[in-house]
């Protein structure tokens, strides 16, 4: 963008140093059509059917069409993609994809993408970074977003950072749940900021469980381990996925089948298997085994070295010799800040891209390796849209100053408050109620109980206890603010899940087990009401060429 318009200046505001952002943890890969045996049409269809038809098809088309170019751009910037012998980019199979199209940098794809992007950004002087600044509020005046208020962590200084347009790229909210692959920083900050500014959150009921997380830590064992040939077995050593309409077992991995089925179906199969008493039980609940031993040390070390490193360092297990205990784990939220195909939210000057946003291309279930690509495609779109908006809106309106003062007062009052409720208690009770009420399977009863509980926690949160009154790197203050964000986002998840009386993709209602296209082929939009509750509205899903059909995995019947 700087090359096209040198007058632009950009501030990157982040609560952690940019290379600490959670993209760094993404392992498996990023999908884009590059090989001659592949087609854009196939990637589009895999994405739409994987999403259980909840995505907007115009957005998916744009995503798939632009994906190769954005991925190549990253290649030109130096991303160390794995290669074929002839020097072209290598691809690997991935869950729910019919053709191999997932680019990868061993099993540290997100790490390499993030570091490549960050390092490349260092060559552009017009980018000013605000590292370790924590955003507490969007500044909205005259119907448009004109910046943020943020706390500089090192000094406690509270300051407005004005911008003629603002892009949210703060990621997801996995930390609302107890057992998650998400990093400590994933608290739905951007979602809550937008929601509080009147912007609706879309499709929040769709939360993805990844089928293979390590018990206790929630560390992700990448889908690439199954793509390379790893199998899932129950306590009897039986490949149980064959009992759940996911195909029949073969010695070698078969695309869109068995262990390479989509994440929602695999996680649901685990729960059914547990109900049949065929899982194993350990200190941290039920689990099954992921077996990669038959791949041998050489393949494991060359294709999924990080899996071995993680198992050895964090679980004291060597996957070359032992089976890996795994269970479904909260991984990704398909929903997010409502944006259009140009990454624009309904609020002027506010844009969003990545997991924080919901365009939507992921619908009711995201396919593995689509999200890293989504960052690139919709990040670029957000950048272009934001630049245009900034050029069309010069200057800032009066009235912002008083908002900044309000926010300073709010934060200072909080810092000096005399509450009694421990932040860790409220947080762990939130975890419990979200898992029991809004987990892999939900019902009206469980959701209503959670809804009540979240209300209670909101009330107790207003009396939260502050022990640390320092202005210097006060991580208790940030934990409290993050908990506030999570409680707001939790409310939208529960209300959107309550209203959706059907089962689709990752949203499974035991009291409404069927998909209901007549009533619910629509995105939910959760708006914040003045009393803090959520009002849920609907927006029809955009269908261009692919009418809703049945999701078929395994062999066609």
């Amino acid at each position: 963008m700087f090359e096209s318009d040198p007058t632009l200046t950009i501030a990157v505001v982040s609560k952690v140093y940019p290379m600490r952002s959670h993209t760094v943890s993404a392992e498996g890969g990023a999908a884009a059509v590059i090989k001659p045996n592949d087609s854009l049409e196939d990637h589009i269809y895999d994405t739409i059917s994987g999403a259980d038809w909840m995505c907007d098809q115009d957005a998916v088309e744009a995503f798939v069409n632009e994906a190769p170019k954005e991925m190549l751009q990253l290649e030109h910037w130096g991303c160390p993609w794995n290669r074929e012998e002839d020097g072209t980019v290598a691809v690997r199979p991935f869950g729910g994809m019919k053709i191999q199209r997932t680019w990868y940098a061993a099993d540290k794809t997100g790490f390499h993408m993030l570091h490549t992007l960050f390092q490349t950004s260092l060559k552009y002087d017009p980018i000013e970074r605000f590292d370790e600044w924590f955003v507490t509020r969007l500044l909205v005046e005259d119907g448009r977003c004109q910046g943020v208020v943020a706390v500089e962590l090192a000094t406690g200084r509270i300051q407005p950072i004005l911008g003629r347009s603002v892009i949210l790229s703060t990621g997801g909210c996995g930390k609302i749940f107890p057992f998650t692959t998400n990093a400590n920083i994933k608290n739905g900050d951007g979602m809550a900021l937008a929601y509080r500014a009147g912007v609706p959150l879309k499709d929040m009921e769709f939360i993805q469980y990844h089928p293979t997380g390590l018990p206790f830590t929630g560390i992700l064992i990448t889908e690439a381990s199954r793509a390379e040939g790893g199998i899932l077995v129950n306590k009897d050593g039986y490949r149980y996925l064959q009992d759940y309409d996911l195909g029949t077992p073969h010695p070698k991995p078969v695309l869109r089948s068995m262990e390479l089925g989509p994440r929602d179906r695999l996680s649901q199969a685990f729960v059914k298997e547990q109900e049949k008493g065929r899982t194993l039980e350990g200190e941290y609940g039920h689990y099954v085994h992921l077996d990669v031993r038959h791949l041998g040390e050489k393949i494991i070390d060359s294709r999924i070295p990080f899996v071995r490193e993680l198992c050895l360092k964090y679980e004291n297990i060597d996957p070359v010799k032992e089976m890996i205990p795994v269970r479904p784990v909260i991984h990704y939220v398909m929903g997010g800040v409502h944006t259009d195909i140009d990454s624009a939210t309904p609020l002027g000057g506010l844009f969003a891209a990545g997991e924080v946003a919901c365009v939507s291309i992921n619908g009711a279930n995201r396919l593995g390796s689509n999200s890293l690509t989504e960052l690139l495609v919709f990040g670029a779109r957000a950048g272009r849209s934001a630049a245009e908006f900034a050029k069309a809106h010069q200057g800032f309106t009066n009235g912002i100053e008083s908002q900044v003062l309000d926010e300073e007062n709010r934060l200072n009052t909080l810092l000096n408050s005399d509450g009694t409720e421990k932040v860790a208690d409220i947080r762990s009770e939130m975890h419990e109620t979200m898992e029991s009420g809004a987990g892999i399977y939900r019902s009206r009863d469980t959701l209503e109980q959670s809804s009540q509980k979240i209300r209670e926690l909101q009330e107790r949160y207003s009396r939260v206890k502050v022990e640390d009154r320092s202005m210097t790197f006060n991580t208790e203050l940030t934990s409290i603010l993050e908990l506030g964000y999570m409680l707001d986002v939790a409310e939208t998840i529960i209300q959107s899940a309550l209203q959706r009386e059907e089962s689709r993709g990752s949203h499974q209602r035991t009291d409404f087990p069927e998909r209901d296209d007549d009533q619910f082929l629509s995105h939910s939009l959760a708006y914040r009401e003045d009393d803090g509750s959520s009002r849920v509205d609907y927006l029809p899903v955009k269908i261009t060429k692919w009418p809703p059909g049945e999701r078929v995995y395994g062999e066609k019947k």
Binding site: V16, R83, E84, I219
Partner: protein
């Protein structure tokens, strides 16, 4: 059997203390807990005012490096049990100014990072429409190791030269410069040599190799520096003997 272990944490709140003091906490000694879990137990259950950085808890974000009993360590990758019966002494990474408790100031490194030009430098950019730059698996292997750095700062803490000579560009940044130098897509070797050849630090590096010892990602910064010295010496001789070949 001892069910708890003592953690002695260096506390420094500039508003309260003029210099760091140690504070002791008892935390459960669980076989699956790492030191970071112990710190979070303190933060959640015993003392909300303790400050430290952490995020991924899987050894890839690079946030949670600290001195454990005098050694730089990633606290998410170190089991409490390996330090039993304790006590475990935790301090902020050495050679950096301390902001608060276990939080260090890493602005110096962030500045140095930019000076080594950690990006692909090319005279001419190929349009994206023309596809990828070809790179064989062997060419990838040439630089892959140096691309694995998570910027955790353990190597700076371990480096005796950086401790004495803060101007030194330092292990991680030099390894990153090599990562791009050795990338077949890059043409910025001379630019970076220009910058690094003035670095007194490189020549003071005694190749003790402490940096490579503590690296949790096996990046081998010491090896990168060694290669730089060789390349630097070669280019110096060239400039003397063949000055027209600049």
């Amino acid at each position: 059997m001892a069910s708890t272990i003592t953690i002695e944490v260096s506390r420094y709140r500039p508003e309260e203390e003029s210099e760091p003091v140690f504070q002791s906490y008892e935390v459960p000694l669980r076989s699956d807990w790492v030191i970071l879990d112990g710190l979070n137990y303190i933060k959640n259950e015993l003392d909300g005012s303790l400050s430290f950085r952490w995020s991924c808890r899987m050894g890839v974000c690079g946030s949670c490096g600290m001195m454990i009993n005098g050694e730089p360590v990633l606290t998410c990758a170190a089991f409490l049990e390996s330090y039993a019966p304790g006590p475990i002494r935790i301090e902020p990474l050495q050679h950096f100014p301390v902001v608060r408790d276990l939080v260090t100031d890493m602005e110096d490194f962030m500045g140095k990072l930019t000076t080594v030009k950690p990006w692909v430098v090319r005279e001419e950019e190929k349009p994206v429409e023309e596809g990828e730059y070809k790179q064989t698996p062997e060419q990838l292997a040439d630089f892959k190791r140096y691309s694995m750095c998570i910027n955790c700062m353990l190597c700076y803490s371990a480096c005796p030269v950086y401790g004495l000579e803060p101007e030194f560009t330092g292990p991680a940044a030099i390894a990153l410069a090599q990562r791009y130098n050795l990338d077949s897509r890059d043409e910025g070797n001379d630019d970076r040599m220009e910058i690094l050849s003035h670095d007194e630090g490189i020549w003071s590096c005694t190749l003790v190799g402490e940096c490579s010892e503590v690296c949790p990602k096996d990046v081998d910064p010491a090896g990168a520096i060694q290669r730089y010295k060789l390349a630097g010496a070669t280019s110096w001789w060239k400039s003397i003997l063949l000055p027209w070949q600049k």
